[in-house]
Amino acid sequence: MVWKAQKPTRYSSSSLKDVVCRCADSCDNEAWEEFIARVGKPISLTIMRTAALWGQPSRSAVEDIVQQTYLKLWEDNCRLLRDFALQYPEAILGYLKKTAVNMTHDYFKHLHTQSAGGEAPHVSTADVDPEAGGEIDGSHEKIAFRILLDQIDVHLKRALSGPDQERDRTIFWLYFRQGMSTREIAALPTIGLGTKGVGSVIERLKHCIREQIAGPRSQAQVAQDKPESKFAPKLVIELYGVPELGTSIR
């Protein structure tokens, strides 16, 4: 499929909102070509990826869903799309992707319903015996995990300041807790940074956390200046207990 229009159309310099309105008013070929050139690829990609959640999608299935998505958008002379485009011109692409996601799920749900000949055998909920495992809310692992997250969050809060502190904290957790890539984070609305910007926020926060965990460097230096004991620390502890040795000032 060739996404870009072969030659510039009359609407090449129009906004996406205007192209949508043109398609809704009197869908001439050039308006359609321009529409496809601008949004065809993200729509198909969204469908392909959503379809992949249901298993390996075939080419013909993706083509079917793509066509059904355009039919849905074109219903009633693109009335819903047009109304949306007029009210939220900056969110048109999001609207199209959302429609594509819905159409894909609907397609596969229909395919998998038993009335439509789904092949999966029926399993009654009565036959399923749920098991409580290590992931239950009060498990030891879970509690330890929450404590760890809380500790890291405390370090983060101490390290962050300025107007972007909430955004930076969100970026940190999206990366470290959710495992999102810098590219995925940068693509989220309201983050307002490119991939590199997100990367540098993460590096900066990692550095801050390291400093928080290690404690201020000057304290380590102070400790270094103290006279060393000629006895092994373990022996000193056994003989005199901890106070004689001195405790950490962290």
Partner: protein, 374 residues
């Protein structure tokens, strides 16, 4: 256990550089550490053997660097803080208001239940990989969907044309035929192109606007619970005079609704006023537009002396439309058919009768039955 570390005081704990060397991050792996020699690293490791506190700190930092927090996996268990009724695709695609989006993403970032949902939704919108590009390149181009009403218009136009040709052969009917063609084209094209919005279309639009607001996707330009403030705002912002019952609440009076605010919306290129209310039965909204833009019609009709009310259900919402004094109103609520409390947004301000216990003239089934009141 190794031998005690005689060269390093016990209370000299792991410092910043040692931590960096003991747990190199991805970007540092393979790089030589400028400030820490192999001997220094060895000493740090010996210290770790004896110091539980440092071991715990190094382990904590390792979990951060290796991003092992996301491997713990607590998905599927929503907490009390988790938002309900959120479509994470809509959040990831930027379809929610900015403030709400920030709030939701900040929650998801720290939540084991919502985070994976956001991540799954966000991954759909990423750039295509080379393999995906190849797959996309094999897809055939979608065909432009046929515009049904347009096709009908073209068909009727061509049928009129052939009739006109036949009439042309009958020279005596030429003037009459031409006139018929003009009238035909006028009546075929005019209503759909520029006529007022029908009652059904208005009801659909009102429900769509109402649901967008309820889902937080339609912010209000005026956020106030003061009716005088609303009237003041409408008279300044609206290009047409919006007439609302204008009796202010008495000191001992308690109305069954609370005003949320208002905004202007576009209905087929024209302006309409959207007013949002909160009621114990749920959110209620009132859409007001000039009757040149939309006319109340259809549904279950209840006629009074000066006004007719049109009741219908759209997507589970109850919609009442009426046209009066040059304006058309559409009231949307999720109320059942047993009561008409939502109507009190106008009736209580009019100090009119209490409709809270009056049934709606709609059948309990989704299909329309005969109106009870008629």
């Amino acid at each position: 256990m190794g031998s005690p570390n005689l060269e390093r005081p016990f209370d000299r704990h792991i410092d910043h550089d040692e931590l960096d060397a003991l747990v190199p991050s991805c970007s540092q792996r393979g790089r030589k550490h400028r400030q820490l020699s192999a001997e220094g690293l060895r000493k740090a490791m010996v210290h770790l053997e004896h110091c539980g506190d440092c071991r715990s700190r190094v382990s904590q930092y390792r979990q951060v660097v290796e991003r092992s927090a996301n491997l713990e996996g607590s998905e599927g268990v929503p907490s009390a803080d988790c938002p309900t009724d959120v479509d994470w695709h809509e959040v990831a695609f930027g379809l929610w208001p900015e403030f709400k989006t920030q709030e939701l993403i900040a929650h998801a970032a720290r939540c084991g239940h919502c985070g994976p949902l956001l991540r799954a939704a966000a991954s759909v919108g990423e750039d295509a990989t080379p393999v995906e590009e190849e797959f996309l390149a094999q897809l055939k181009l979608p065909a432009c969907p046929v515009r049904q009403p347009g096709t009908k218009a073209r068909a009727s136009a061509s049928s009129l044309l052939s009739t006109w040709r036949r009439l042309f052969q009958w020279k005596v009917f030429v003037p009459v035929g031409a006139l018929l063609v003009v009238v035909g084209i006028w009546t075929t094209i005019r209503p759909s192109a520029a006529g007022p919005v029908t009652g059904a279309e208005l009801a659909e639009f009102a429900v769509s606007t109402h649901t967008q607001h309820v889902r937080g996707r339609l912010t209000l330009d005026l956020q106030s619970d003061s009716e005088p403030r609303l009237r003041e705002w409408l008279s300044a912002a609206s290009p047409f005079p919006v007439v609302l019952p204008a009796r202010d609440e008495g000191p001992s009076e308690r109305r069954p609704y609370r005003l949320e605010g208002a905004r202007l919306v576009r209905l087929r290129g024209k302006t309409a006023a959207f007013i949002a209310y909160k009621m114990p039965t749920g959110p209620v909204s009132l859409l007001v537009t000039p009757d040149a833009v939309a006319i109340a019609s259809g549904g279950v009709e209840v006629n009074f002396k000066k006004v007719s009310f049109h009741y219908r259900r759209v997507d589970g919402y109850k919609v009442v439309t009426w046209s009066v004094h040059g304006l058309t109103y559409a009231l949307v609520s999720q109320e059942g058919n047993e009561t008409q409390t939502s109507c009190m947004v106008c009736h209580s301000a009019m100090k009119d009768r209490d409709l809270s216990h009056t049934p709606t003239p709609l059948s309990t089934q989704s299909s329309f039955g005969e109106p009870i009141w008629q």
